[in-house]
């Protein structure tokens, strides 16, 4: 009341009092607008909720309202993934068609809830936050189409990111019920945590016919090269934890091991390394006094000392990423984010996006058997290289690991590149961080060719109206034996070019020599240079102090024996 009173006392001072008719006018206006809006709103809800339930259930914004599909026990189960599948055998390329943009169209099935005959859902978690993010990102991208008939790739909205929350048989049945399933042809499944105890298969165990699998944790035996896509295991920490970017450079620890579930054999090996090399190694484990869960995920301990995770990763040059029961580890993502060079010990693991990313420039891969030699191997890498790997590692995270969106779109781009290989992204586009993209020089004529003399050269002469000097140039240059053609560009709209060789003399022309000495001319040219440099974003010109001369130039040597005797004589 105090504040409103304050306002009312101020009101008259700010807004002049209105007359009554004005007041009525305003109130009517607002009421009309208000009524109109309410009516529109009603109209919005009303007809659609009658016309189509399927479309609108989602708008109530709850998973529980998605249409419920009951899977009969006898409904068909797809075959297990076929290991021999390749794009030319298991993928229907006709659906992608030829299009000038060279871009595949991706359809996402609407959300449905699958339950078995007893009403038990096929998944314990339903749609996860991550899968929802992934699908949202794809639906917002250029790949997306809502027209199922035009799609080249189909993505089910059945979340199979984590196999452990799935009922395998029922999930498979649900996949087979998708209207365009057609033996899994052109369907893409995303899975990050494959396999289950005790043997932890390295690919999703759900039978899936010919569907493509974007999997985190493939081994060389389950990965169908050129067909599947190896993706990272997303780390939710990257979204939760804000970290200032750390520049590449020397760090407090040399090697850091931060994973909590390392097999005791490997932990013993790491302890031994720590004994030998002391402070350079930091060997962290989970904190015994903290309970499981998200909070414990953010802390690590060493001998009672508590460290913040993932922040501690930024304090080390190298970070160990050891296989667990599964090959793919979420820790890889945390490590890359911290700009710490991952030391990957996971034999037969197919690194994420290895089809396009050059991991040799961002990581060190060591066979598990050589864990004991890790320190020596890493020590042999020069500092400058470590810094570059740090930069590269962080860039990989930023571009391809940082969000479900990044992971999803990278996967689609890789598949896109296979279908339109002639328009594929290049090695440089995939692997060069922006800094390098700006400063690198990729000459369009990169092949060292020394062209033969025979074709000669074409002279292009630009002229405005200095005909006399033009003729002088023409006369001189036409003496050159290797001149193949002479092209004069007449750059004067007000005058037509002189005809034929008769007009070799031009009486009205006055030599305007010394043009380039003109002060304003120089200023203009300086302005040009600055303008160009700002458009290029950098100064591409380079200064050199040398000049090319013939080998015997100005040497004390008989002139007639020189190939180019006249050069330099003004």
């Amino acid at each position: 009341m105090y504040t409103s009173g304050k306002y009312s006392s101020r009101g008259p001072a700010l807004i002049p009092r209105m007359k009554t008719k004005h007041r009525i006018y305003y109130i009517t206006l607002f009421s009309v607008v208000l009524l109109g809006l309410i009516a529109t709103g009603m109209f919005q809800f009303w007809p659609h909720s009658i016309e189509s339930t399927a479309d609108w259930t989602l708008d109530k914004r709850s998973v529980h309202d998605a249409p419920l599909i009951r899977l009969p026990v006898s409904s068909p189960i797809p075959e297990r993934g076929d290991l021999s599948c390749r794009m030319h055998t298991c993928f229907d390329v006709y659906r992608c068609g030829y299009n000038p943009k060279n871009r595949i169209k991706v359809y996402i099935y609407p959300l449905q809830r699958f339950v078995d005959e007893l009403g038990v859902p096929i998944s314990s978690t339903g749609l996860s936050r991550e899968y929802n993010d992934l699908l949202s990102a794809i639906s917002d991208s250029d790949f997306y189409t809502d027209d199922i008939t035009r799609a080249c790739l189909f993505i089910p909205s059945i979340d199979v990111l984590n196999q452990n929350s799935l009922r395998i048989r029922e999930t498979a049945q649900a996949l087979a019920m998708l209207p365009r399933w057609d033996k899994g042809m052109n369907h893409l499944l995303f899975n990050m945590l494959p396999g289950g105890p005790p043997d932890y298969n390295t690919a999703l165990d759900v039978p899936r016919d010919r569907a493509l699998l974007a999997g985190g944790g493939f081994s060389t035996w389950t990965y169908r090269q050129g067909y599947d896509v190896s993706i990272p295991v997303y780390s939710p920490l990257s979204a939760d934890v804000e970290q200032p970017e750390k520049q590449p450079g020397p760090r407090r620890y040399f090697i850091l091991s931060s994973q909590t579930a390392i097999h005791r054999e490997y932990r013993a090996e790491l302890e031994r390394l720590k004994e030998e090399n002391g402070e350079a190694l930091l060997l962290l484990d989970k904190c015994s006094n903290l309970s499981q869960g998200a909070a414990s995920a953010r802390k690590r301990c060493y001998k009672g000392q508590v460290y913040d995770y993932p922040q501690i990763l930024q304090e080390s040059s190298f970070c160990v990423v050891l296989r667990g029961a599964r090959l793919g580890q979420a820790a890889l993502s945390d490590v890359l984010q911290a700009g710490c060079v991952p030391v990957i010990l996971a034999d037969s693991y197919i690194l994420p996006f290895s089809e396009v990313l050059d991991w040799k420039r961002a990581s060190v891969v060591i066979p598990e058997e050589k864990l004991s030699e890790m320190y020596t191997i890493l020590k042999s890498i020069p500092h400058r290289q470590v810094e570059e790997m740090q930069r590269q590692a962080h860039w990989f995270w930023e571009a391809y690991f940082s969000s479900m969106k990044a992971i999803g779109l990278t996967t689609l781009q890789i598949i896109n590149d296979r279908i339109y290989p002639y328009a594929a992204r290049t090695y440089e586009q995939w692997n060069n961080p922006p800094v390098v993209k700006w400063s690198s020089v990729n000459s369009p004529l990169f092949l060292p060719l020394i062209p033969p003399r025979a074709p000669g050269f074409t002279a292009v002469v630009l002229t405005y109206d200095r005909v006399e000097s033009l003729f002088r140039v023409i006369t001189e240059i036409s003496k050159v034996p290797s001149l193949a053609k002479l092209l004069v560009v007449w750059n004067n709209q007000n005058k037509s070019p002189p005809e034929g060789e008769k007009k070799f003399k031009c009486p009205e022309c006055t030599a305007i020599d010394g043009l380039s000495l003109d002060q304003t001319h120089m200023v203009e040219r300086s302005e040009c240079i600055n303008k160009f440099a700002s458009v290029f974003g950098t100064m591409p010109l380079k200064v050199v102090e040398h000049r090319a001369d013939p080998v015997l130039y100005k040497d004390d040597f008989p002139e007639k024996l020189k190939s180019f005797p006249n050069i330099g004589s003004l």
Partner: protein, 743 residues
């Protein structure tokens, strides 16, 4: 109170608006899509207008932490045991390095390759003989099987087509009787042809056990990634070493040639692999897309003859294959009976961008070569789209594809030796995992065979990638002075040289390589300089030691000097600034030239002052430190020993090496007159230069080197680099490198 009401009203109206937008309004445009809502509801819950929509609000995370818990549960399975079970589990078609290869054999002696001795009465084809001699001539070769990491059979496995005259019978028994066979472990088997009419299987007709395959025309289904190596199909005339250069002599812009797409080859009419070639006529337009087939092959082609055959055969005879190959932008490479065909290498060499139509062919060296940069990977199913696809490729891209064909051809394919070495290097990269090449090293000039990861895996340490990475070489150089005569006086040329070089603003360090029989002089006898001077005693006092990759070289650039070289500080400064622009080449002073002596049918060497040159003497030259490493490791012992025994030609060899890497001539910079005179005149070394034997030796060297390289890598240049105002008619005070002009 009036005003207050008005505010309230305004506020409530605004709130309504916001609410409305949140609940319904925003959906308007979206929900209007999907016009055919009512049909096709046959499948429960689905209708075609339905679209996926994101769910806001809280959803459960998919929880990767669960991983840790499951890892804990897994505690009892020992990773070591797990590793050991691999080798029993994944064999045959599922072989990988992890399960079928014994890494421990490579640990003691590095990557060494053993070739079985040839058995009496065993005939080898020329191609296989070439493969074996390429291995024996390489730095990987060891005659001792106890040292070997990889084994190569001396039984010809190249042609496994039973109908072929080259087919070797009883291979199975012969191989099983080899004492070192060991179930095929750590063996590599080379093969070009397998299977025969009618099904052309990829089976070799004997049990290869755990051996790796280096095979042509291998299909993705049979290819064991990171275990097998796909090699190109090459003809029996493929040269053993050297190899022809690519046909591209100069770039043309725009890059289009007379034809857009061509092909000329057999058509099989029926049987495996015939469909694509049979359909080619659909795309043929006899203008810029010329795809010709002939039905004539084998004896009984008339039997299978179809209605098109006669017309196709006449059209076929109208065109010359070579003419088409050289004048086409793209060349179609459709599969034959087998997946690979000779057309592939032919197109690559001819700078005709290959358009692959061979579904399921694992392209040659696919493990390391990014074929999208040099070829168009088509799909047999989309044959009809091929013309529009190639027409849609931008000019710039064509230019780059074409140049890349030439680079790849010369780097990995133009001789049997290159194909074999590439195969071995690929396997070495797998074995020495953390010292292996990155993709960039394989796919950029000068290619993987010249980029040795044992030197460094860091791109910055090589002279080839500065521009690509947008960086510059180290801004200083290290001078290495090669000394062979004892120190007698302080006015000796070497003393003056040392002082002059150390004075250079770009000099980081001077190294004196003491290759003189007399003992090392006391430290204080060397002049005092502002940069460190390191004296190294040459171990065996041989001349090649000047090119050893000393760890004590801290810079990218090396200034190599003879003890009697006379150079001023200005000259050194200028040469170094030039080198910074050409870090992959030799930049130096006195130059020499080579020529083909047609009377004697051999290469000639000349030191005469001529209008061109192809070598720069390393007695006064700047080049990248990496070339020391290449000289020491890449070149064969035979050439280095020859150089050491003669104490001559080391500079020629270095020039051969650098030019074969860069494909470019060295760079000569201007020099003071006085220097030239001493070089040719009075100093200790001059006696050597005047000696006619010395000259004859160098002639011999040239020819020996050319035969080892298999070609003449030296390139002529007519250019000398001078300081910008050199000898120009301006005041000498305006010139930065004025000392060079002064006598």
């Amino acid at each position: 109170m009036q005003a207050k009401k008005r505010y309230l009203l305004l506020f409530s109206a605004g709130a309504c608006l916001v609410l409305l937008f949140c609940f319904g309004g925003i959906q308007v445009p979206l929900s209007r899509r999907g016009p055919s809502r009512r049909d096709d509801r046959s499948l429960a819950g689905y209708h075609p207008g339905a679209r996926w929509r994101p769910l806001p609000g809280y959803l459960q995370p998919f929880s990767p932490w669960e991983q840790d818990r499951s890892d804990d549960l897994n505690e009892h399975i020992s990773p070591r045991q797990k590793r050991d079970t691999l080798s029993g589990l994944y064999t045959g078609k599922r072989c990988r390095m992890e399960s079928c290869f014994d890494f421990s054999l490579c640990e003691r002696n590095g990557f060494k390759v053993y070739v079985y001795p040839q058995q009496k009465g065993e005939k080898l084809s020329d191609s296989y003989q070439n493969i074996l001699s390429s291995i024996e001539g390489s730095r990987f070769y060891t005659p001792d099987p106890g040292q070997a990491c990889l084994f190569v059979l001396s039984l010809d496995t190249l042609d496994r087509d039973q109908l072929s005259p080259q087919y070797v019978h009883n291979l199975k028994a012969k191989i099983q009787s080899l004492p070192l066979w060991n179930g095929g472990k750590n063996h590599i088997i080379f093969n070009l042809y397998s299977g025969t009419w009618p099904d052309y299987t990829e089976d070799l007709g004997f049990d290869i056990g755990l051996a790796m395959l280096a095979k042509a025309s291998i299909s993705t289904e049979n290819f064991r990634p990171n275990f097998d190596v796909s090699i190109p199909l090459f003809s029996k005339d493929h040269p053993r070493t050297g190899g022809e250069r690519g046909y591209l002599k100069h770039n043309t812009i725009p890059p289009y040639r007379k034809y857009m797409l061509v092909f000329k080859g057999k058509r099989y009419l029926t049987g495996i692999g015939s469909d694509t070639r049979n359909a080619l006529y659909h795309v043929h337009n006899s203008e810029d897309v010329v795809l010709l087939t002939t039905c004539k092959h084998g004896k009984d082609w008339q039997k299978h003859k179809d209605t098109r055959c006669d017309r196709d055969n006449t059209e076929y005879d109208k065109y010359d294959y070579r003419e088409m190959l050289y004048n086409s932008t793209f060349c179609l490479v459709p599969r034959g009976r087998r997946l690979g065909s000779f057309r592939f290498l032919e197109a690559l060499q001819a700078a005709c961008v290959p358009v692959m139509l061979s579904n399921g062919w694992e392209l040659p060296f696919s493990e390391i070569i990014d074929w999208n940069t040099a070829a168009v990977i088509g799909d047999e199913r989309l044959l009809l789209q091929i013309p529009s696809t190639v027409r849609s490729i931008h000019q710039d891209k064509i230019l780059s594809l074409r140049q890349q064909t030439q680079f790849l051809w010369e780097a990995y394919f133009n001789s049997v030796e290159k194909i074999v070495l590439t195969t071995l290097e690929i396997i070495q990269d797998r074995v020495l995992l953390h010292t292996s090449r990155s993709n960039l090293m394989w796919n950029c000039l000068p290619g993987g065979l010249f980029t040795l990861p044992q030197y460094s895996t860091h791109l910055r340490d090589f002279p080839f990638y500065y521009a690509k990475l947008g960086i510059k070489p180290h801004p200083k150089f290290t001078a290495i002075i090669h000394v062979v005569t004892p120190l007698v006086s302080q006015s000796q040329p070497v003393m003056k040289l040392l002082v002059a070089v150390a004075k250079s603003q770009y000099c980081a360090q001077v190294m004196v390589l003491w290759n003189c029989d007399k003992p090392l002089p006391a430290k204080q006898r060397w002049p005092a300089t502002s940069v460190p001077v390191i004296v190294i005693e040459g171990e065996s006092k041989v001349i090649s030691s000047r090119f050893l990759p000393y760890d004590t070289i801290p810079t990218d650039a090396v200034l190599s000097l003879d003890e009697d070289t006379v150079l001023s500080t200005t000259e050194v400064d200028f040469a170094f600034t030039v080198w910074q622009s050409f870090p992959d080449r030799i930049v130096g002073y006195p130059a020499r030239s080579h020529f083909w002596d047609s009377n004697k049918e051999r290469w000639g060497y000349t030191s005469k002052w001529t209008n061109d040159y192809s070598m720069v003497l390393t007695g006064a030259a700047i080049y990248h430190r990496y070339y020391h490493y290449l000289y020491t490791t890449y070149l064969p012992a035979s050439l280095k020993t020859m150089v050491d025994q003669m104490s001559n030609c080391e500079d020629i060899l270095m020039n051969f090496l650098v030019s074969s890497v860069s494909k470019l001539p060295p760079i000569k910079v201007t020099q003071k007159k006085q220097y030239k005179e001493t070089m040719m005149g009075q100093s200790s070394r001059a006696s050597r230069w005047a000696d006619p034997d010395h000259f004859a030796q160098r002639q011999t060297c040239m020819n020996k080197f050319a035969s080892w390289f298999g070609t003449m890598p030296l390139v002529h240049s007519q250019m000398r680099l001078d300081p910008v105002l050199f000898k120009d008619q301006v005041s000498i005070l305006r010139k930065k490198y004025r000392d060079i002009e002064r006598l």
